[in-house]
């Protein structure tokens, strides 16, 4: 730390007609430089993180021939949306020329129901495990927690067996089932920890008031839940949308979610690589979670940090 130099001209007892306070000015200067440094570092990191995204966005708007000429990383000298249209509706992947459209809707058809169902189940589990404890409920909670730390690939074989038995291989329903079950650990953990902060007296008061299990859930617990439900919905939607392993293992071709189809897009074909279309396809695949983040990000943080009762 720098020593504060004694200033002969400064005498607190003497009135200061100009209003100039050298101590305050020095403090302002120090404050400015420390701020400057912080923002410079933050800006640098932001650039490092944003450059890949920028490159992909640029390439999705450049002509393929221009990319071939000037290289993958370059400032665009051409500008068109053709690649986006191709990637969405007409690009050929392993024989079918429908673009990513079908896979995009597959992903939606998988992600939306799986998110909703796993969130509802998580909320109910959390409600029971925090407010209707029974002998062994802590054990059950701990076993469910194990699921949080279990890597997905461990359950690949059991799922293959189960989906086979149920006749749900190569179907979106199969993936919905997988993601609901795999997601319950997280949603239960989120909701249970949130509901623990709701005072038990509320439940007792409601019981004396004549409300039962479901009425307490609907009228008291659920109205307090939006912060944590937003968190679980964002978490589940992003996680399920971006999930790749189960999609690529259990579905093929037209049934694949967009993450799996993107791999097929980059791997397939003997023709020259269409970097413009690939870039656009990647962006299409990344758009939903990105939008969720942009619109819901602040609620996510708020929901995780705030308790049930303000």
């Amino acid at each position: 730390m720098a020593e504060i130099a004694p200033d002969a001209s400064f005498d607190p007892a003497r009135p200061n007609p100009t209003g100039f306070d050298p101590e305050a000015a020095a403090a302002t200067r120090r404050h400015f430089w420390s701020r400057f440094l912080v923002y410079a570092v933050l800006t640098l990191f932001a650039i490092v993180y944003l450059v890949p995204l920028l490159v992909v966005i640029f390439n999705s708007l450049r002509e393929q021939s221009e990319i071939a000429r000037n290289g993958l990383i370059s400032v665009p000298r051409s500008f068109r949306f053709d690649a986006w249209a191709q990637a969405w509706g007409s690009y050929c992947v392993s024989g079918t020329c429908e673009g990513m459209k079908r896979n995009f809707f597959n992903s939606l058809a998988m992600t939306i129901p799986a998110t909703i169902i796993s969130t509802i189940l998580g909320a109910m589990n959390g409600y029971i495990l925090s407010k209707w404890r029974f002998r062994g409920s802590e054990l059950i909670f701990n076993l469910m927690l194990l699921g949080v730390f279990m890597p997905g690939q461990i359950s690949l074989m059991p799922w293959a067996f189960l989906l086979g038995k149920l006749g749900l291989t190569n179907s979106t329903y199969g993936l919905v089932l997988i993601h609901v079950v795999q997601g319950i650990s997280f949603t239960t953990l989120f909701c249970r920890n949130f509901y623990v902060s709701i005072p038990d007296d509320l439940i007792k008061a409601a019981r004396i008031d004549g409300a039962g299990f479901w009425r307490i859930f609907r009228k008291i617990i659920l109205p307090l839940s939006p912060p944590i439900l937003i968190v679980t919905v964002i978490w589940q939607f992003t996680g399920i949308w971006n999930e790749y392993l189960f999609g690529v293992v259990f579905t093929s071709g037209q049934q694949q979610p967009i993450t799996a189809a993107l791999v097929a897009l980059t791997a397939g074909g003997t023709t020259a690589r269409a970097y413009d279309v690939m870039s656009a396809a990647v962006l299409i695949g990344a758009l939903p979670p990105l939008l969720i983040y942009l619109f819901g990000g602040k609620y996510f943080v708020r929901g995780l940090t705030q308790g049930a009762i303000k």
Partner: protein
């Protein structure tokens, strides 16, 4: 008829015994306070009356019904919680009507009941607010409104005032008392504050370590505590306990500050078979400055010398710490007549108000 009757009630969690055989009874319209130090089991007892805790053994009767296995909602009770337990997402009106809605009371009757209770508690202007927009005292009122609207057989209060600041607590205490007079419902009130119990209750059950030590009127509990625990718990500053020896059937001696024995005449003769060693219990307000005038007014006054160690004026009264043998006792004096520090005062002890305890059983003799 009793509104509440509890017989030989036990509660244990595994091998941990919380309540060890409680017998208690509240007559219709009575205000019973359960008071005791924390961990004495008073809140558990209340939760069992409400049906929020299961009964290990024993019986709970509300009115003429054995309610051991009756659901809380069917016990015809209402409860006010220490935390108020207002439903945070509902307005005050919805908080009050929630129970009626659960029971399927018609809308018109609900509105009427809300109006009645809101007028009674003066919370009409708050009905549209949420609990988060209310002050502590207002929340307290709403919580009581939610209980009152039910018109139950039994009111249960679980330390309802302990979350309020000191001044508000006294105000609300008065209001609860007024309310009870007006409504006249049987009430069981749990508190750890002995002043609350004394001021509100028609009968007090003093509890300690899972059992009722004494169940009696506030005056009897204060004047004739059945054992040293009750004597020490009720009253502030606490009753002085002074070891003493019986020197005859009507006199005891205590060790004074200078090491000599002072003899004090008892107001009534000791029963035969009393132990030789006893504990003299005397409340601070029954210790006076000795004067001949005092003696003529209170013939049972016995006198002895004691040096004054410390004086604590509180405004309304002055507390003095007095040296007696190797122990300190507290006396309560009129501020105008208070002793000064360092003085040796001649005490007048009103022996008609003294309690004698058996030091081994701790029971009142």
């Amino acid at each position: 008829m009793s509104a509440l009757m509890i017989r030989n009630l036990h509660k244990s969690y595994g091998s941990l015994e919380i309540l060890a055989g409680i017998d208690l009874e509240a007559k219709t319209g009575e205000f019973v306070a359960l008071v005791g130090p924390s961990g004495c089991g008073k809140s558990t007892l209340l939760a069992m009356i409400a049906g929020l805790e299961t009964v290990t053994s024993g019986e709970i009767w509300i009115g003429d019904r054995l309610v051991n296995s009756v659901q809380p909602k069917d016990r015809d009770i209402a409860m006010v919680f220490q935390s108020y337990a207002l439903y945070p997402t509902m307005t005050v009106r919805q908080n009050i009507t929630f129970g009626m809605e659960s029971r399927g009371v018609p809308k018109a009757a609900q509105a009427e009941a809300v109006q009645r209770v809101a007028a009674l508690l003066q919370i009409e202007q708050l009905l549209k607010r949420k609990p988060g927009q209310l002050s502590g005292g207002q929340r307290q009122r709403v919580a009581m409104g939610r209980a009152l609207v039910r018109d139950p057989k039994l009111f249960l209060f679980d330390e309802p005032l302990s979350n309020l600041d000191a001044k508000l607590r006294v105000d609300m205490r008065t209001e609860i008392k007024k309310l009870h007079h007006r409504v006249g419902k049987t009430t069981v009130y749990v508190t750890h504050d002995q002043v609350e119990a004394m001021t509100l209750a028609s009968r007090i059950a003093v509890m300690n370590q899972g059992s009722v030590q004494q169940f009696d009127t506030p005056k009897r509990i204060y004047d004739r505590p059945t054992n040293m625990f009750v004597a020490g718990f009720m009253g502030s500053p606490a009753m002085n306990f002074i070891p003493a020896r019986l020197t005859g059937s009507t006199s005891i001696s205590v060790r004074a500050a200078d090491g000599s024995d002072a003899s004090l005449a008892l107001a009534a003769p000791m029963p035969a078979g009393a132990p030789k060693d006893v504990v003299l219990g005397i409340r601070p307000e029954h210790i006076y400055r000795f004067t001949t005038d005092l003696k003529s007014r209170k013939p049972a006054v016995a006198s002895m010398q004691a040096p004054v160690e410390l004086v604590e004026p509180t405004g309304a009264e002055t507390l003095a710490v007095l040296r007696l043998g190797d122990l300190e006792i507290t006396g309560r004096f009129e501020p105008d007549d208070a002793p000064v520090m360092g003085e040796t005062i001649t005490l007048g002890i009103d022996m008609s108000r003294a309690c004698l305890f058996d030091p081994t059983t701790k029971a009142l003799l």
